[in-house]
Symmetry: C2
Subunit: 100 residues, 2 copies
């Protein structure tokens, strides 16, 4: 858990929004076509539509967020689903609380 790397992720409105949206997938995204739940998060295409940025940009963002351990990917067929890594998010805030 790296404060600077995670802060870099949060230093961008779209990436902060993605984390917020993933907190309530049912409320923020349409249902998936292949599965009827959001247990593994949301597919890239939906996130892209909501963010209004290009496919490659969103993929780059998601990869950076995954490298910072903020989100967890799961492959379902041809889709990749991303969900929040609540442990790391909580640990980050906890660290800010004590160390900062």
């Amino acid at each position: 858990m790296n404060i600077v790397d995670i802060s870099k992720v949060l230093a961008n409105k779209t990436r902060v929004n993605i984390l917020k949206w993933l907190k309530d997938p049912e409320g923020n995204f349409p249902p998936h076509k292949d599965i009827d739940h959001f247990n593994d998060g949301v597919c890239v295409g939906y996130i892209q539509d909501k963010a209004g940025l290009s496919q490659s940009t969103i993929s780059t963002y998601l990869t950076a967020m995954q490298n910072a351990d903020l989100i967890i990917p799961t492959r379902h067929g041809k889709w990749t689903y991303y969900k929040r890594n609540e442990e790391v998010i909580a640990a980050y805030i906890d660290t800010l609380n004590t160390l900062l």
Copy 2:
């Protein structure tokens, strides 16, 4: 209180260190020559010495941190002292806790 602007400040090791150091000025800096307390924080020169970066870089960092409302400047004679803005720091962490 802007999440992205504050996160940009935290996206740099030296700036995070400055916030940490300012949490305990007595423990991290030598006493000032003109005054015998740290009520208004620490002068720029001491922060510069501790960080090991150039005067202009540290001044630029401190200005960015001040623009994000993370620190508060006070002028004493020819020195500028900087102290933490605890309200904004707490509000930032609070916002992360609920919104994020």
